[in-house]
Amino acid sequence: MKTFPENKELLKLTSKMLDNVISDEEHERLIGFLTSSPSNRRDYLDMILLESSLHWEPSHVDLLDFQENKPDIINFPFLTWIGSAAAVVIALFGVLWSFTAFQEQEENFSDSDMQPKNLTSYAFEQTFSETTSKFNYKSKPKLAGEPFLYPREFVQRHAQRGIDILLNNNRLAEGGIFKFHGLVKCWNRKSTLFKPAENGILPASGSHMIGFEKMLIDVEGQYARTEETVQVLDVRDALKHSSPGKSRIFAAVKFNQSYGDSQAGAEFGITLKALKENGSSNEKQLAKIERNLSIDRDPSTWNSLTSELEIPKDTEFIVVSLSARKHGPDALLANTCSYYSDDLELFLSFDDQSVIGPI
């Protein structure tokens, strides 16, 4: 779908034609539009593609359909005013209770409920809590096929926050640890993701490991995914003093999963991205590498994965994220297991000589 038909009449005539309510005279006008201009033909074909998608691929539309059966209205047979008053009182108590109970809860996740809104102003807005630094998945959307975009969106938001913290030298930002490693500054979210031993999984080392959030599952596509931005590195100062093409980042990490009903181990991944933050605050991805590993189902063994990326000359920030995903029917059982990572270590080398790490 490239363009919105500027010619509203063409759109109207095509719509009437598709609904078989076009008159002979309107039909002639439509033919006139189509024969007169390639641009009109392109617009017409875009509309046909839309119509075809709505009609011929019902599986996409099916899952979005409203509930046709409205809930029954329960009528009080008598003394309806007493019932109404009681309902009001109960509702007031409910509001008071929920206000006090959740007063301390800083998390806010602006409305993503799919109530119909003005189409032209639709925006999926999320606000980020400084204290929890975690997004709440409770309000995840109901659309099939859409959910597995959201882990990526959350990763983007965490990454952007990390970049902003490093840009502003906000050493007291919550939700992570701000550290210096030589000339490299690091925003590290690992501590907010840490979990102790659980679900039969012992950390690979130490007393804590990274625990992934539950996977978001695309039922129709049979795909499930969870992803976390773990670290953001500010390499601007380090790269100033090094020669182009001689800087690299190495990463090593381990993955594991608990027992569950799924038949196969998940596919884990580590992604390294080199970004440049330009003047307009839009990130520019200069390089990216994603390495993946399918692991076994044995919770007593940790599976190792390494990755490395040559850092391009203009890189300002490096984002490190970890993911876990499942495909096929097994994806539907993804959340019967829990997914973990541990021993993430990063090493940066500049001019093939100086090495910073492990970070």
């Binding site: 919105f4 189509l34 017409y44 509309m47 046909i48 998608s53 019902p58 639709y122 969106e153 990130e283």
Partner: protein, 157 residues
């Protein structure tokens, strides 16, 4: 394939008939297809001839194009590069339709009801239903056009 045929034969039942016939011929002629060839071109060519044959044999609908216009439209390339993104966008946009529009869209697109049936069910004149369907299509196209760049940007990062 259905989109291609519908663009040349803008009557749904005719387009579905031709699609069935085309698929049968593709199966029958499958051995003639060269594995290193362009399947899309081969299949669409067969569909084009089926559309022309259908127009020659049966012009039961008043809504039909001349052979010359069919040839011109068939030469235009359907933009399917962004089709996957457009479908995603359409999912979002369809869910944003107001309830009264979704009622009508459901009957028209999912249940394939004719306007007369929708008019009876909704107790509104056919003209009003037609106008609403026009607004539905208009809203969806606008919304999809706005959503695709957002989805593209998300997919890249």
């Amino acid at each position: 394939m259905y989109s291609f045929i519908l663009s040349l034969l803008p009557n749904r039942s005719d387009a579905e008939d031709v699609l069935q016939e085309t698929n049968l011929i593709l199966c029958q002629k499958s051995k003639e297809y060269k594995a290193d060839g362009n399947f899309r071109s081969w299949a669409f060519n067969i569909a084009r001839y089926q559309v022309l044959a259908h127009l020659t044999k049966r012009r039961r609908s008043k809504v039909c194009f001349s052979n010359e216009l069919v040839e011109v439209l068939a030469d235009e390339e359907l933009d399917t590069k962004q089709h996957h993104l457009a479908q995603r966008a359409l999912q979002i946009c369809y869910g944003l339709l107001p309830e009264h529009m979704r009622n009508i869209a459901h009957m028209r697109f999912k249940e394939d009801a004719q306007l007369k049936e929708i008019s009876i069910a909704m107790k509104r004149p056919i003209g009003a239903i037609s106008a609403t369907l026009f607004r539905i299509r208009q809203n969806l196209i606008q919304c999809v056009r706005q959503k695709i760049p957002e989805l593209e940007a998300k997919a890249d990062f």
